[in-house]
Amino acid sequence: MAVRDYLRERFFPHMWCPGCGHGTILGALLRAVESLGLKKSEMVMVSGIGCSSRISGYVDFHTLHTLHGRALAFATGVKLSRPEVKLMVPMGDGDALAIGGNHFIHAARRNIDMTAIVMNNRIYGMTGGQYSPLTGYGALATTAPYRNIDHGFDVVTLASAAGATFVARTTAYHVQQAKDILQKAIAHKGFSVVEILSQCPTYFGRKNRMGSAVDMLRWFKENTTKIGSKAKAENPDLIERGIFVEKQLPEYCSEYDKVLERAQSGGS
């Protein structure tokens, strides 16, 4: 199936600003799905609220556009009732880690089979550029006009510590890597987290004088490196890209089935 066949073309052109990285992430996700040969009817995309969350409107799978921060909770319900479908949960950094932070760590801890995609633009895009838990120390935001004094989460470290069995990071510049990682994450049985650095030229870029979308992509190119590279040893400030965790642990729906069996057989 061609990539375009997975789109709801009637809603195009999409609502994202010119140069917003969220559209590039949508493209990478569709190419990953196409390479896996997945049928529209065997995928469910669940999203919350935010510019990023609007992604669910554009894919012609089963989709659920829910509440801010609660996408993983809805997705958990869907997965437990229909364990055979592939769940994809794209979230903004605010959606995933501010209001939705608790859902995020507990979904990771349960190792429920779904793919959480953190579309990290380091800002609340939809509501006008307020700082998020990923804005980072020293950056500017509408609500941090004298610079942010909160330190950002490291999504990779957080997800790994919380128990996610697949954890990766890439950027909207590294499109081939984004597609490859998403493909592996979707195929992985268990809770997978893919952080994709995305550019919001309208708020994060403008506030922090980072230039155009093109300049912001160049920033991703120049300030990231492959895991364990020589460049990282020389410059510890570089952000690493790649797959950090990939392991097998019992998956939640399979374990839940065992609980049902035990309960029905009267054993323990």
Binding site: R4, P18, G23, L217
Partner: protein, 68 residues
Amino acid sequence: MAKPKLKEHHIEREWCKGCGICIEFCPKNVLELDEKDKAVAVRLEDCIACRMCELRCPDLAIEVIVQE
């Protein structure tokens, strides 16, 4: 495998928002913005069909079609 050869760039003009990402990151400088700020492929003979414009386009507006 033989190198892919370009047939055409299919550009959905209505979808293109003119961000210039395809133009900036094309390794062969094939694309430009026209007077309406829409991407157009102008130096077709230079295109190596690497699809970087297609993959990076945030508007999903470009498809690089290669010869069979």
